[in-house]
């Protein structure tokens, strides 16, 4: 039989359409335990490739006969080796092109909805890492929010739509992934906006996002209100777009809330986080559609692959928004936190412009899940 490459895009489609897939992950057990391709109807077998060098006989009876099978490794090499061995045993298998590195970088642009006076809101879903970026489009102009370092995806998408990127914004200084905001702004001449309270140590010029600010896209009434909502970082800012969408950054997610410790000050910021979630957000319309900067689990995806939910629904269902007791809330967000994201200190330094690692290094720094939330 044969073995063929499967692109990240095809895997993404299977995730979104909740298809079945059998994943034979040949990375180390610790890497697999840490981070894998998540799909609601995916099943898994993890056997390190070095246990298969002498042959795949030992696993043949553990492989399904009736499902597509994808061999996955870190970069591709080992999965090709194992896929070839399996094909020699008469199986048809796929290997993941570019491995987990490519999966980590893949993004799916999905339309969230239309804006009042023409224009659209797009969400870019980075399935491998759980990062969400946004593009607001109106009347030939675009704004990008929380862009990842795969800047080509955004500039290419804007070109296809025939829109000019005017503004690039980050809701906060990210700790789990490297922002592409600064380089998109540089490439396109757009203005790069950052909350000043997060940008105390940055070494480049930026436009300061302050509470009450409005950023216009196109010449319609689409405004981005910067809503200062500290918590995850002291400068964290939420945006209300078109009086319809609430971009919450890393403050509020669909099924979890932001962790306040990644800039090192959990104890100090827990009060701010509670104030934002339990008071500031409650003053907003329940009809606003929350668009966060991350998702943690694949169940947070809607049928169409977007990650979006009404604020009112989150007030009813998100556990982190329903902890009456302040001490209990404090405990949730400061104790028993999940491990911190891979290389998060270096990622912060990169986003401040203090260090400039090469692309390969940046890729490595971002390996793994985002881990920005607590549940």
């Amino acid at each position: 039989m044969s073995f063929t490459a499967m692109k990240s895009q095809e895997v993404a489609r299977k995730v979104i359409q909740k298809e079945e897939l059998f994943i034979l992950d040949v990375r180390n057990e610790s890497d697999f335990a840490d981070w894998k391709i998540e799909g609601e109807n995916f099943s898994y077998l993890n056997i390190p490739y070095f246990d298969l060098i002498d042959g795949v006989d030992s696993i043949l009876d553990k492989l399904p006969k009736d499902k597509d099978m994808l061999v996955v490794c870190a970069k591709e090499g080992s999965s090709v080796m194992v896929a070839e061995m399996l094909s020699e045993q008469g199986l048809h298998v796929f290997y993941l092109e570019g491995g987990m590195k490519a999966w980590s970088e893949h993004m799916e642009p999905i339309k969230v909805g239309d804006l009042t006076n023409g224009g659209e809101m797009y969400q870019f879903v980075r399935l491998g890492k759980g990062c969400l970026s946004y593009m607001v489009v109106s009347n030939g102009e675009a704004a990008i929010i929380d862009a990842t370092r795969m800047t080509g995806i955004f500039t290419h998408f804007a070109k296809e739509l025939g829109v000019t990127i005017k503004h690039v914004l980050d809701t906060h200084l990210h700790a789990d992934h490297i922002s592409g905001g600064r380089s998109i702004a540089k490439e396109t001449g757009a203005t790069y906006w950052l909350p000043p309270k997060d940008a105390g140590e940055v070494v480049f010029d930026y436009q300061a996002l302050e509470d009450g600010e409005e950023v216009k896209i196109g010449n319609t009434t689409i405004n981005i209100h910067a809503l200062y909502s500290p918590g995850h970082t002291i400068g964290s800012t939420s945006f209300v777009v078109d009086e319809k969408y609430l971009l919450t950054g890393d403050i509020l997610f669909i099924d979890s809330i932001g962790r306040p410790d990644l800039a090192g000050l959990a104890e100090d910021w827990v009060g701010d986080l509670r104030e934002t979630l339990y008071h500031r957000y409650r003053e907003l319309s329940n009809e606003l559609i929350v668009l966060p900067a991350h998702f943690m689990i694949i169940k947070e995806l809607n049928e169409d692959g977007t990650v979006a939910e009404k604020l009112g629904t989150l007030f009813a269902k998100n556990h982190g928004l329903n902890i009456e007791d302040e001490a209990e809330f404090r405990k949730l967000v400061t104790e028993n936190l999940p491990p911190q994201p891979n290389a998060y200190q270096e990622i912060r330094q990169t986003n401040m412009g203090k260090i400039t690692p090469d692309e390969e290094k940046q890729r490595e720094m971002e390996i793994g899940p985002n881990r920005c939330a607590v549940r």
Partner: protein
């Protein structure tokens, strides 16, 4: 440390460093040491995990510039 054999796996990408290491260790006797040189960053965790799974002892590891060096005692 006296190595019975030195394997140069520099410039090789995954899975080759581990594949070659596995082959090389078959050519030495139990208790002897195999010295491996690699440049692939993934080989660091992979060789460690491989040695552990095969019961071999990773006696020492070092980084010299871009080169990772491992000393593995055969089980």
């Amino acid at each position: 440390m006296e190595a019975a054999k030195v394997l140069d796996a520099k410039g090789l990408a995954c899975p080759m460093p581990v594949v070659r290491t596995k082959k090389a260790i078959e050519e030495i006797n139990a208790g002897e040491i195999l010295e491996v040189h690699t440049t692939d960053k993934g080989s660091k965790s992979d060789l460690t995990a491989w040695a552990k799974s095969g019961g071999h002892e990773l006696v020492k590891e070092a980084e010299e510039g871009d080169v990772f060096k491992f000393w593995i005692k055969k089980a």
